[in-house]
């Protein structure tokens, strides 16, 4: 039996509606045209299958060829994948992708949750601050990246500020040790507002009475956060971490706009390498293999992440 708010049986017609006194219409006697038939989704399902999955599968076939984008090609088995494993540039791209993905996952979730906690209830200016923190999310990643490129420029404002405090200017986007961090900062800066909103939605479900009761019982702020807030926002953690992980793994715009993958591949990711190999260097087969590898990595990490964050209560 459902909860008092569960209207499913009524909507589905399995129990009499309150006060109607009439028996529900049996499943067999339902008219053909009604709400909620599964086959209503059929056109969308077919479109997704044809446009998305079939096209993707077709593209994946090229991962096993030496096609250059022009003319004929031969099937080369797993040669492209062997080449990926032997190519230091591809291994570097894989490492950079994982660094950015997990750095992005941690940074956006930690900062997003902290912002959400800070702007949840008490602060009077919370609505204004929420808007301010969310605003970068609605901007184009390319536009944001170009603004940050100006900020990171050798003659840009960041080095000006460093100069005021007597520090040496840096080539932020051309320094192999700094460039990847710079990309991560830009990614996180733009997306943290989105994570904050997800956590705010989760925090709205936490009853203040329980927190007040715990506080009266002498629970510290950390214990209230650990034992009341976190379990309540667990679905938000699952959603936010999944989205951020996937977004981090497929990062492209920010890298292309900020560094183009440089210097000398120091910020190259799998997604930018797929683009470069496929469209700039005409190695369609190799690019398809990289794309397939990226897809598999995203799939594996998404499944693992779902397993880690699932509700075990």
């Amino acid at each position: 039996m459902g909860t008092p708010q569960d209207t499913g049986p009524v909507v589905r017609g399995t129990v009499p509606a309150a006060g109607s006194g009439r028996p529900a219409r049996s499943r067999r006697s339902r008219p053909l045209i009604t709400y909620g038939r599964w086959w209503w989704a059929l056109p969308a399902i077919l479109a997704v299958l044809l446009i998305h999955y079939l096209a993707t599968a077709g593209g994946a076939l090229y991962a096993f060829t030496n096609w250059t984008g022009i003319g004929d090609f031969d099937f080369v088995g797993l040669d492209n994948f062997r080449r990926i494993l032997e190519d230091p540039a591809s291994i570097g791209s894989l490492k950079n992708t994982l660094f950015l993905a997990f750095g992005f996952l941690v940074l956006t979730n930690v900062v997003g949750l902290l912002l959400a906690l800070a702007l949840n209830r008490t602060l009077k200016t919370r609505y204004l601050l929420r808007v301010l923190f969310f605003m970068p999310v609605v901007l184009s990643p390319l536009a944001v990246s170009y603004v940050w490129k100006f900020i990171f420029d050798f003659n840009g404002p960041l080095n000006d500020v460093l100069g005021w405090v007597g520090m040496e200017p840096r080539t932020w986007l051309a320094d192999p040790t700094l460039a990847l961090w710079a990309v991560l900062v830009v990614m996180a800066w733009q997306t943290t507002g989105m994570v904050m909103v997800i956590y705010l939605a989760g925090l709205a479900t936490v009853p203040p009475e329980i927190e007040e009761a715990a506080a009266l019982d002498g629970a510290s702020t950390w214990r209230r956060f650990r034992h009341i807030t976190v379990p309540s926002v667990r679905p938000s953690i699952a959603i936010a971490s999944t989205l951020m992980l996937i977004q981090g793994l497929r990062v492209f715009d920010q890298v292309m706009a900020l560094t183009g993958g440089g210097p000398a591949g120091a910020t190259e990711t799998l997604a930018t390498q797929v683009y470069k190999e496929t469209f700039a260097l005409s190695n369609f087969g190799y690019g398809a293999a990289l794309a397939l590898l990226l897809t598999v990595i995203m799939l594996v990490f998404s499944v693992l992440q779902q397993a880690v964050t699932r509700d075990r209560s």
Binding site: D153, G260, P263, A264, A266, F279, L281
Partner: protein, 369 residues
């Protein structure tokens, strides 16, 4: 402009299809395979660039051209324009590549072009102390460091061994074992360490080149000759010129110059359109029309310097007349990845990443793919 002129003279209507340069190669390839490519297209000679002509000719997507087109192909460069004795691309004009030099800024700074690269490197430090730089480099855009390396390689590699690319293709030599290429990259490292590039060069974009060259804060840069002409046209009072990069001590000046653009006909075009395109190419090959194209684009006539030589190229007239030049090396390289490996490798050297041996080994690897 030439299409309009041709239409006026012949009554043949030409519809032009402008495409952005950064996606040109990909768009044209897609159109060629999709059957909706233009009848007449512009490509890069050879096979070393994304919009190169030879892979398309090998895939039978281009139409063999006539005698007028073949007659324009520079001697020794036949392999860049055709295969199996057929010519598939008609060269347009020569674009010299050396160092783009601002003589006014150099004169103001009291710098004369040294006879050799050691003298040039020695002059970099004092110039940097004055807040100027010998060269401006767009280090964040790999093709610019790549072009710099190729310009330097003219005297280190191709002056002594003009057929070095053919030897590499035959497997007789390699980048990693080539003294010339090692010297080329060592010159880049030496220039970087001596402060020859502007501050923050490793992270600079093309805008830095435009600013540095037009404002005179840098004396030189590495650009195709036609870009120097464009900057002159866009900046009143600016008189950039193309100079050969100084050779190593005891070396002779040498230059890169080749037709970076060539015209081809779509093999899938209808016969009347093919015929019309052939006639247009024949018209383009006529000296006065070729000269007009050269004037518009800012290069050198494909037949060599004449009385109409653009003042930008006057300093390299002798080299061009004496044939002391080689085609842009990457035109002859087998795939775009070779130049990409060189360009990103040199980018890394400027940013303090990697070493000469690993860069050259990477270039060899890309060649062998």
């Amino acid at each position: 402009m030439l299409a309009e002129q041709y239409s006026e003279e012949t009554g043949v209507q030409i519809e032009t299809q402008p495409l952005p340069p950064d996606s040109y190669g990909l768009t044209i390839r897609t159109q060629l395979q999709g059957g909706n490519a233009p009848d007449l297209m512009m490509f890069s000679p050879g096979a070393g660039q994304a919009n190169a002509v030879l892979p398309l000719a090998e895939a039978n997507l281009l139409e063999p051209l006539g005698e007028e087109s073949a007659a324009l192909v520079p001697e020794g460069s036949e392999s860049l324009y055709g295969i199996d004795g057929e010519v598939y691309a008609q060269p347009t004009n020569l674009i010299p590549v050396g160092m783009t030099w601002n003589p006014t800024a150099a004169s103001d700074a009291g710098v004369e072009i040294p006879e050799n690269s050691d003298g040039l490197i020695d002059a970099c430090g004092p110039l940097a102390d004055e807040g100027k730089s010998m060269f401006v480099v767009a280090g964040s855009v790999p093709p610019n460091p790549g072009l710099m390396a190729m310009a330097i390689s003219a005297t280190r590699v191709y002056a002594e061994t003009p057929d070095w690319n053919e030897q590499r293709a035959a497997g007789d030599v390699s980048f990693a074992d080539s003294e010339g290429w090692q010297e080329t990259l060592q010159t880049v490292v030496d220039m970087n360490e001596a402060g020859c590039f502007q501050q923050g060069a490793a992270g600079a974009g093309f805008d830095a080149i435009t600013q540095g060259m037009t404002q005179g804060t840098s004396l030189g840069g590495f650009l195709p000759g036609s870009a120097a002409n464009e900057l002159n046209n866009a900046t009143p009072g600016l008189a950039l010129e193309v100079q050969p990069f100084p050779p190593a001590e005891g070396g002779e000046p040498y230059l890169l110059a080749s037709s970076n653009y060539a015209l081809s006909i779509n093999a899938a075009a209808e016969d009347p359109q093919k015929q019309a395109a052939q006639e247009f190419l024949a018209w383009m090959a006529e000296p006065e029309n070729a000269a007009r194209f050269t004037e518009i684009q800012g290069g050198v006539a494909i037949t060599g310097p004449d009385e109409n030589l653009n003042p930008v190229f006057e300093p390299v007239r002798e080299l061009l007349e004496s044939g002391s030049y080689a085609p842009l090396p990457n035109l002859s390289w087998p795939n775009p990845g070779v130049y990409d490996a060189l360009a990103t490798g040199v980018q890394g050297l400027i940013a303090g990443q990697g070493d000469i041996d690993s860069v050259l080994q990477g270039v060899d690897q890309a060649w062998d793919q």
